[in-house]
Symmetry: C2
Subunit: 539 residues, 2 copies
């Protein structure tokens, strides 16, 4: 009853705002939505699931022991909920890497523990390294010459310390109506092949730098992290066998890094003692996506899917990125299974791996199930990321026509405020209809903006209906994303149960509907390039 | 020339705003101000001094080895600048405490380093303590009974985990004109003896709790820190011999503390390994203020003084609290000495100790130089804090009439925007006059508000002219104050040179002026109490 009146209120609000034209579902579906809201809002398991994953298992670097432990846990969860066809889908990735412990202390001019995190896939130190620092900022290969002959026996601080920040933005945010209005814009297509190439080249630089340091006899590399407030991040992209970083590498908090720079400038070089106890694992170079299903009643009706990447970085517990999305997928599966839904279409749940290293898990799924693109098979890891996006022709597989809708969650743990139509104007009315039962929960916008950076991107890139939700920002971008603060404390229980319910509701309607989301045309060439763009030859 | 035009601009701005009635000083003083601005803004040493103090020496807990090292450094600085009568003034304090190292790791259900800081004057652990946690929130003695017999062999988590924060405020702030307008209010006197007594009682609770834990056979006490974002604080008030905490005590980051609470609630108690390597020092129970002077030319004209507390907590490097104030005092001394000023009145510079434990250094200075109050001499440390404020009669000493002005800096490292007249309406015109040369540097307000919590308070309490400045907040209150972020990175070079110059300028004018700041009447009884206040018998 409470639930019915919430929906009614939502409808009234929409009529007033003239934002949407709700098309109410039939009585059977209406009853299922009411049941879902009751189950998911009154008896949510989202935060218990989240605590098992984040607090008890912790961060899940792709192909680490912890990621495999989490896969076992997720498969067991799906089984306990009664899902079917639970399995892993392996894909070629690279080395596993398991971090056991680490530390960094300044030992001179005074003793001080420093806030650091090893960079993922850094070599171990083999016990403590104690040595003086040298401040040698290098951001491109052309900088190397200036430091030749000066780095032997040193711990090298390779970042330019720069200026401290004076951000006037609030740490924690929820979207206003005005904020959401700004998201509703159709973005003209723009192809930026140089930009993508530069991004890949930048990521390759760390390895070149580490090889230069090793050749010079340096002992370790220290980077300054990119947020202040004693946060550390530790992203690393060098996980292909034979292509890992050449020297132990750490990310250091800005406050600690800049103190070392100032001390080095005004007196004898400070001494550090660093240690990283970590091990590579080359026994299994495959990473795994985890898949589970609620089977559909009509084998010819195709399937709908929800997905979230399950892997995380090593900072924090991988809570908002992307434990939150994973929990919503798992809780949605629990809710729909508990409700005993018998959807026309199969509902598939996917927990992707390798997202942080270039959407590698969802790309592998596409290659295995949906379509192939002619990419040089010698390109591995991050190098395959940009290449795949720009390879033509796209060759659909038989399953291409079967995937009717994909909903992704990976914008932190804030509640859903609406959905991005990704520039597909024709899809907006149906997205609006499916969202309408949840308008009164705060999710009432369908906006045209395109979004990037997560696992719906490669689906969109081949014309498939992959969508994600507008979410309240909370403190995700300001301090949590990829940082040591990415713990359960920065998730919100109310937001998580709302998101889980809406994700389940969108899946349910997409699986039951007589209608299908219109697809974009299969792309045959890159998006429009700017014919008047003059390339900077110095870039 | 640039300097002259800056002043002219400032004057024009004031005339336009009708905020102040500037009374320009005579040509001689005007020239000195121009010289001060040139020296202090173009050739500031503030940040080099700050780096020596914060980066190289580090935090300065009252009566610690590091505080003594900093005293030696400050005395040497004053000597190098050519100041006179450089000396320490010892006062009765309590135990020294020196922290060598510490660590905290969760060892079960998984291995995870935790962000902690020992509470100042905590006993050492004597090697690692490894034990399960118990979550036993206690905030008053009445809570103890519920936990009797349950704490033996445990690491006790004594804080209620509470809710996570959702602050909408920006981290970093500068004051707008509107903000400053709100500070300009005359506060009606209000005496709150119960409030003060409760504050003292609350601080005493940690020791009672630790004694209960020890009697129960608990191994250590862990408190949750009061800000999120993985900040830690570690304030401690139990430094009197025979009255220190009974068990090793740590402050733990909210994110780590709440994770332990959730794990304890959903499974076997997590195990921690804690260690604190620290030592008490009872060889010298006296702490020291450091004093230096630029002698005046007229021995009968009295003296003016600038002061800042030199002691800090152990979190961070004691930069904004109160390295900043200390640096401004030292840089002001350097500037005035380098300019070769010959002031009529002596200019005294004071670096107080023991401020963080109850304004103990400045109180001692008052007792030694200015006035006494009849306080029970058995009250030590924090217990003497509230007692001293409320003891009557006040008996002035001969030097009472000699102190003509005191300027304190202890509101972080933000630039000066004006000065608080502390409710002394009669003093405002002269403060406004002395501030007028600096109006164009952003310091243009004289406001009526009273301020508290630092070393001018006890001077104001006995009717003496102790003032402090309105400062831009920066990120001081939001995250830096008493936290692990209190490092040099959160100070701003431009702000520090502005503040140092204005502090020097105020001192100079106060030392040269023919006028004196009017004093408040010598108090003979507490401020007005509210005759209609009904005390809550349950408090």
């Amino acid at each position: 009853m409470t639930v019915r009146s919430r929906i009614a209120t939502g409808v009234a609000a929409i009529a007033f705002c003239a934002i949407a034209t709700p098309v109410l579902a039939g009585p059977a579906e209406d009853k299922l939505i009411a049941q879902l809201l009751d189950e998911g809002l009154n008896r949510s398991d989202a935060m218990e699931i989240a605590s098992e994953l984040m607090d008890r298992i912790g961060p899940r670097l792709t192909n680490s022991e912890n990621h495999r432990k989490a896969e076992d846990w997720a498969a067991a969860k799906f089984a306990a909920f009664g899902l079917k066809n639970i399995h892993r889908e392996p894909f070629e990735f690279g080395l596993g890497w398991n971090l056991k412990s680490y530390s960094a202390t300044m030992t001179s001019p005074r003793t001080l523990p420093l806030t650091v995190l090893p960079v993922a896939w850094s070599p171990a130190t083999g016990g403590p390294i104690t040595a003086p620092v040298i401040v040698a900022p290098m951001s491109k290969v052309e900088n190397f010459d200036a430091w030749k002959g000066k780095l032997a026996g040193k711990i090298v601080l390779v970042s330019l310390p720069g200026e401290t920040s004076e951000s006037k933005d609030p740490v924690f945010e929820r979207l206003s109506g005005e904020d959401m209005g700004k998201l509703d814009k159709y973005t003209l297509p723009r192809h930026d092949p140089e930009g993508l190439a530069m991004q890949v080249a930048r990521r390759g630089f760390a390895r070149k730098l580490s090889e230069f340091l090793k050749a010079e006899g340096a002992l370790a590399m220290v980077k300054m992290t990119y947020r202040d407030g004693k946060l550390v991040h530790g992203e690393g992209y060098d996980f292909i066998p034979g292509q890992t970083l050449a020297v132990p590498t750490m990310d250091m908090a800005q406050e600690d890094y800049r103190r070392l720079v100032r001390l080095a400038k005004t007196g004898a070089a400070p001494q550090l003692s660093l240690s990283i106890d970590a091990s590579f694992d080359d026994k299994d170079l495959m990473a795994d996506n985890v898949i589970a299903e609620i089977p559909g009643t009509d084998p010819k009706a195709g399937y709908v899917m929800a997905g979230a990447h399950f892997d995380s970085w090593i900072a924090g517990d991988g809570a908002s990125d992307n434990g939150a999305g994973s929990v919503a997928v798992i809780e949605a599966a629990r809710l729909l299974s508990k409700m005993g839904v018998k959807p026309k279409r199969t509902i598939r749940f996917a927990l992707w791996s390798g997202e942080e290293q270039g959407l590698l898990g969802s790309k592998a799924y596409i290659e295995q199930h949906l379509a192939t693109r002619p990419v040089d098979p010698s390109l591995k890891g991050i190098d395959s990321y940009a290449a795949w996006r720009n390879a033509y022709p796209i060759t659909p597989k038989p399953e291409y026509s079967q995937l009717k809708a994909y909903f992704n969650m990976d914008n932190g743990s804030g509640k859903f405020r609406g959905i991005y139509a990704e520039g597909n104007v024709g899809a907006a009315p149906l997205l609006r209809e499916w969202l309408s039962p949840f308008n009164s929960l705060g999710a009432d916008r369908v906006v045209m903006s395109k979004t990037g950076g997560t696992d719906h991107v490669y689906l969109q890139a081949i014309g498939l209906p992959g969508y994600q939700f507008i979410q309240d920002p909370l403190d995700y971008e300001s301090r949590v994303h990829h940082s040591s603060l990415d713990t359960l404390d920065h998730m919100r229980a109310d937001d998580m149960r709302q998101a889980s319910v809406i994700l389940a509701g969108m899946l349910l309607q997409a699986a039951m509907s007589d209608k299908e989301l219109p697809r974009s045309p299969l792309p045959t060439q890159p998006d429009a390039t700017d014919p008047f763009k003059v390339q900077d030859p110095n870039q």
